[in-house]
Amino acid sequence: MPDLTPIVRNGITIDATYAEAFDMRATALVITAPTLRWAHIAAASMTGFATSVIACGVEAAIDAELPQEATPDGRPGVRVLLFAGSTGELQKQLINRVGQCVLTSPGSACYAGLTGTEPLKLGDGLRYFADGHQISKRLPDRHVWRPPVMDGEFVCEGTTGLTKTAVGGGNLILLGRTSATTLAAAEAAAAAIAATPDAIAPFPGGIARSGSKIGSKYKGLIASTNHAFCPTLRAEVPDTALSPDIGAVLELVIDGLTPDAVAAAMRNGLAAVIALGPDSGVTRVSAGNYGGKLGRHHFHLHELAPAP
């Protein structure tokens, strides 16, 4: 029998549970621009409405800012990660989002951010926008397309890499006394996750307040509110997971290019929450799973929690 006794770190209870995560397809891009501000604008635009594959097709966010010396063209840039359930959907979303949000952004350029097992079309799919005026340039280290645009050229690498060993669905559920303190803890965790390489938290600001369970009483809905974690339902649902002192719950959902990246992000997020303490942050940390039957990746909170 597994030990189901919660552990306590810095006055915060860590449930004896685990986050259940799934295999995903993923890719990465490097977006550069004349200034870091415009790189962020292009990246924010292309990763908008990309919180969950349930309705967005893809989960995406900025992974890291890149200094000039770390980008292919020596300009400021950001690295963006995109996750999807299938290669086909990832390819479709990649072309649509880069085509509508990066190609259109002033001064932008777009490069592969991952050397994967297979290529995904990037410039190879977008070059037709140039209506025959595109220039193909095969340099020693990369192949780029140069469609002419009104402020010069949109330099775009021909392909980017695909990984089939990405993981989506790592999570932390933070339970606090008030909305304000719970949000403070979630922001600390989101910042720690954002600083973790190869991992993103795709929800707004890295935080989800509408955690979901699988299924619904209504036909056609594949997910519905996670009633066990809703404070207002504590008195009316028999399977509530909340004790009387819990006034708010927030969740951080994490996607990573590897299981290790997800584990590192959860570990860093957990450490940030624990460092904040129960008075300024949350009193309890839990995680979401489906009994271990759906996802093959299990991230146990007790294994990720810092030592006492």
Partner: protein, 268 residues
Amino acid sequence: MTGLRLVLRAQPDQRLDLSPLTPDRLTGLDPGAIAALKLHTTRHSVTVGDIFDIHPGDPADIRIEGGSDRFDCVGQAMRTGALTVRGDVGQQAGRLLAGGTLLIQGSTGGWAASGQRGGMLEIAGNTGAYLGGPLAGERTGMRGGIVLVRGNAGQRAADRLRRGLVIIEGDAGPHAGSGLFAGTLIVCGRAGALPGILMRRGTIILGKPADLAPSFVAANPVGLVFTNLLTRASATLSAKAAACVQAATTRYSGDMAVLGKGELFVST
């Protein structure tokens, strides 16, 4: 294990075809078999053993010590490994080169890198006419890989270039990049008359002003992001080439006498 050394014993009395002396073709051969390889181009037989002292070693790294302008087809169709010649060579050095690294520490005759498909050819000295160009009857010249010439190049360097990167750190003769199909040519020094004449597509970068055909039309802008990429890509090969790309101030489209989708950058 050190490389296989072939030390020149005497200058040849006829032009020789050194195409058998590549890592691909010598792998698995013992010194006796290597010595028996025929190199002659006339009725008089000449073998490797007649010309070179053979010092056994790893055939993936061949060193020919001593050169001759009668050594033709050095490194022809080489696919892997390294081949170094300490001296001059004749025509068609690196002809159809597909991979590996071919280093000529002297100068070469004409048609070096002709039809090259991959790999890297570096020439420490000068090279003759038609660098990377096609032989008679061929439609295109070099189709891939990198050529780096530390010295000067003769006329029609990168003639009918189809793909790949050609860097000439010195001067180029007349009609550099003539009939370019695609690919990139960088001439750090002075280019002779009418560079890029009849080029269809592709990129030519000139380090100094040149006499362009009137069918090249100024087409701004410079400062394109692409030049950053090319600067970085060439910097690993040649600091002069990187500086040349960075210094380009004017961009022309051409050659309008043909397709006109090429670009020519000039530093003024």
